[in-house]
Amino acid sequence: MDAVLDYAFLAILFPIIGLLLNAFLGDRWRERGVAWVACLASGAALVVSLLVFAALLGRPPEARLVERTLYPWISAGALQVPFALRLDPLSVTMMLVVTGVGTIIHIYAVGYMHGDPRFQRFFVYMNLFLASMLVLVMGNNYLVLFIGWELVGLCSYLLIGFWFEDLSKAAAARKAFVVNRIGDFGFLLGLFLLFVTFGTLEFGPIFEMAEQSATVVLAGLTLPMRDVVTIITLLLFVGAVGKSAQIPLYVWLPDAMAGPTPVSALIHAATMVTAGVYMVTRSAVLYEMAPLSSGLVAWVGALTALLAATIAVGQFDIKRVLAYSTISQLGFMMAAVGLGGYTAGMFHLVTHAFFKALLFLAAGSVIHGLQHGMHASAASQGAEAFPASASPLPPPDPHDPQDMRNMGGLRERQPLTFWTYTIGALALAGLPPLAGFFSKDEILADALERNPAIWLVLTVAAFFTAFYMGRQLWLIFFGRPRTEAAAHAEESGPVMTIPLILLALGSVVAGLINFPGPHPFADFIRHHAAPFNPTVALTSTVLALIALGLAYRIYRDRLRATTDPDPLLQTARGLFVGAYNAWYVDRSYHRVFVQGFYALAAFLARPVEAGVIDGTVNGVARLVRRTAGQLRRLQTGYVRQYALAVMVGVVAIVAWFLLSA
């Protein structure tokens, strides 16, 4: 069985083969061929991951760490970085999540992307993403991790801007990449400091050295290891903040919903965005040495969880609600790992991957259905004229299939989607016995044990979570259809609904992997797990039920037409408008940073570059030209005057000889 471990690199290789086949040969095949290649590549990676998992399980717990060097990658002077893989419970967990959810979403996307002119390209990107994400989680050193880290960012860029004809989507893609780069800037600095501190970038030696030596000599100074590690972990966390969309760099994720829905599910919910959580867990040794850093991680996570949850309440776009929900849930995970609850954080990462992917895919099914409905209804009637509304918020675009105000009553048109969506929503809200209940509960239990203030913040966030999910359920599925399109919506085909069912199943049972009591997952990844806390469980369950009930009371049959204002607008007008506008954070960023950068660029390019720098050069040239213009008058063109000048020179030179002799 151990032989499998030597071939773990195949998990990365299969998607690469898939993408190469599709990229170079895909245009000769029809959709079917492309789909088969991509899905098989992904499935093969899943099989490899499962085999690796089995192989690891077959070893005694303390021997579940295998490293395999593929080849020495960078050898420049003292900088030696191998391209090597690390197989341990943590990476295998991530591999299973990535390939498992990834394969399901691949299959779903075959249906979702059907008929798209760039079908082939989509699957090339998806396979590239899988490979990159696997590199990220399987690398045995920070630099290999960083390759994956950046490559998944690239895939995210490509897939957000997949429909690049729409400039706003292209701009969202660029925003995502640039904001991530800002995080990576900190991450890079962290890598540099890691290297000068430890002389290597490999996980194993770094963790060993960090634990063993109390001091480190840097630039001639002897510094306490603890302080250096604190700086390192803070810098690394900047990267995690970018990738996992935490305060203050979360602003890219809501815009990232511009991508196709399977992408939102896979990249922007289940896998890529959790890379930050994975990285912090991976560096647990370092973070545990640096209480300042882990405290910061916990607080940033908790505040992000709360902030994003409140924003989600004020959104009308079905995917935006889920996007803010993702940010919020990532905040939960961050808070957990910041508090040292690595098991809880990773556990929530796994369950969240299931139910959030489920929610996104189901949302995609809703959007798909609504688009069908729009086509169907467009034939029967012309553009609908909407009366102007008194709301301070802009009315919905009648052709926007993502605006929840255009939905309603879809329960009957899309029953399967409705049921799976409900399972996902309840899992997210944290109702027992669904997966979300166990994982979230473990986080809250951890928090109460270590930092009650954070527990409080997270509990409030959980309350909002249940509320906005309730709001969403009612707006989408209950009541009567508010548009013709919603009335004509159709259920999606089996290639899309079967993945939904699979994921729904996962969302129900995934909680079992770390069932309170035996805590098998905690044993597997060898981190501590908080014991089951009945008080916490009860509180959060009751709060979730209250929140769902509140949503039911507020939203039941209150929106009858698309232009009806949101009921919350009447009760808490200022707050709702604020939440709708995401508390104006994005706008302020735009004002300060983006426009500031434009102004700086314009200033440097015009007055400074043209005026000062090139101006100096051209000024010197002009001075020379002007002097020459004066001097050229000496050149009269009369040969005798030149001769006279020569004569003056001769006399002068001879005189000089005479005088110096």
Binding site: W73, A76, G77, A78, L79, I182, A605
Partner: protein
């Protein structure tokens, strides 16, 4: 002295020159093919250098030495080490690519054009192999003339201004270098680099060392170009024909950084250490400044030109980290920049040939019209912005790591320079977005859909792309041979730099 392989690589293009001289002006196709085949053959011959290169050797290999002007101790003295090896290969490759890329772009004075290209190639290779300072200077100056003519004759509307600016600006620096070379030669009685390195004790530690360092540094800094000596570059790039820009960015700029590495560091080690914070400071300013100014451009070519300022800043930062990691990264980054920026200029050229404009506001949505072209561009853009897995990342990461570990530079340099990586993403992706994404902003773009890439346009890009991936995935192919030579340079610099930090 065995077979004069190095001289063969240097002067082989002259065979092409000779053949072309005997062709009539109207035989344009024949002239093109002779030029291309000669330079392609030169590239293949230069591959023999890699094959026969002894990577365990730190000193110069393939050395050839013959008296040239014995009265003044000037020799024809050439040789190759692990540093110049890659630059010579880059030169032969980029030259062949540049010639191939001109097949349809150059339609006037074809004969003169290809003659100049081949002569330029001789001079450029000469710069990288010369070990005699006087010989180096001759080759160095000789590159100016063909480039001046290439810009001045086949350039854009303001070509004469750009050509004269390029010529005069670089000449000003070279003159100072000539003075320094003469001083060194008179002091030691030899112009040979190994002799000078052996005798550097004469001036190291004196005030003369600093002045000599500065005299060389100004010449090289203008060539690099190091901020704020860069203002000739955008003009020259914008006006030059595509192949001229490719060569300018791909090779000529490397002559500056190569000069720093070959002469300034080993000959004036103490001055290098003293001046490192200043030079590295200018490099960092250049990285940020080039990136921000690049963002504000509307002309794609100008954008790429300013991006060169930024990228060369990284190379300079790596060199003046004065340690093995930084210098190896810098050498690799020279090659990377030659490939990536060269490819960007080729890409802009392909577009310009079809649309006769480079104003980004007049494009948009090109990816839908030319999918293959768009994808190739994206790969090059990603390489240029330092995406891991591609070549740019290896160079930038190693440079920044070297700078961070440097004894002479503080962490602030690295922090600021690393921010340049963020800015690179901004300006390059904005460029990509303005040209390739969204909807077409000019109906004339619709024609592009009917003009797919031609064979020679693909043929110039494919080798570059292969190398972009190769360097990114297996940089050790390139780090390996330069290792010992870089260690030797670091050895001259003294300190514990061998260890890396």
């Amino acid at each position: 002295m065995g077979f004069p392989l190095l001289s063969l690589v240097t002067f082989l293009p002259l065979v092409g020159v000779l053949i072309i001289l005997f062709l009539r002006r109207e035989q344009e196709a024949a002239i093109r093919w002779v030029a291309f085949l000669t330079s392609a053959l030169t590239f293949l011959v230069s591959l023999l250098l890699v094959v026969n290169f002894d990577r365990t050797e730190a000193g110069f290999q393939f050395v050839e030495r013959a008296a040239w002007i014995p009265a003044w101790g000037i020799d024809y003295f050439v040789g190759l080490d692990g540093i110049s090896l890659w630059l010579v290969l880059l030169t032969t490759l980029i030259s062949a690519i540049a010639i191939l890329s001109s097949f349809t772009a150059i339609t006037e004075r074809v004969k003169a054009y290809y003659l100049l290209m081949l002569l330029l190639q001789v001079a450029m290779v000469g710069v990288f192999v010369a070990l005699d300072l006087f010989l180096f200077y001759v080759f160095w100056e000789f590159t100016l003339v063909p480039m001046f003519l290439l810009i001045g004759i086949w350039g854009g509307p303001r070509r004469v201004y750009a050509a004269v600016k390029f010529f005069l600006y670089t000449l000003v620096g070279s003159i100072l270098m000539l003075l320094a070379i003469l001083y060194l030669g008179l002091q030691t009685g030899s112009f040979a680099l190994p002799d000078l390195m052996a005798q550097s004790g004469r001036w190291v530690g004196t005030a003369a060392e600093l002045w000599l360092f500065l005299a060389f540094a100004v010449a090289f800094a203008i060539k690099v170009p190091l901020w704020p000596f860069h203002s000739w570059l955008p003009d020259a790039h914008v006006e030059a024909p595509t192949a001229g820009s490719v060569i300018l960015a791909g090779i000529l700029l490397k002559m500056g950084t190569y000069g720093f590495l070959r002469f300034n560091l080993p000959l004036f080690p103490q001055a290098s250490r003293t001046m490192a914070p200043i030079v590295a400071g200018l490099a960092v300013v250049g990285i940020l400044y080039g990136a921000v100014v690049s963002f504000a451009q509307d002309d794609v070519k100008k954008l790429v030109a300013f991006s060169s300022v930024s990228h060369l800043g990284f190379v300079m930062l790596g060199l003046f980290a004065l340690n093995g990691i930084g210098i190896q990264g810098a050498v690799l980054q020279m090659v990377n920049h030659g490939l990536s920026t060269g490819a960007l200029f080729l890409i802009v050229g392909i577009l310009y040939e079809r649309r006769h404009t480079r104003d980004m506001d007049r494009f948009g949505g090109l990816w839908a019209l030319m999918p293959l072209y768009g994808t190739l561009t994206l790969i090059v853009v990603l390489s240029s912005l330092g995406l891991p897995g591609l070549n740019g990342f290896i160079g930038e990461f190693t440079i920044l790591q070297g700078a961070f570990a440097s004894e002479v530079l503080g962490w602030g340099y690295t922090a600021l320079a690393a921010f340049g990586v963020v800015l690179a993403a901004i300006y390059l992706l904005t460029m990509f977005q303005r040209v390739f994404l969204g909807q077409s902003r000019d109906p004339a773009n619709a024609e592009l859909a009917h003009q797919p890439l031609r064979w020679h346009e693909l043929a110039v890009l494919v080798p570059i792309l292969v190398l972009i991936f190769w360097i990114g995935l297996h940089p050790n192919t390139f780090f390996g041979p330069m290792q010992r030579s870089v260690e030797a340079v670091v050895g001259f610099l003294g300190g514990s730099a061998l260890a890396g930090w």
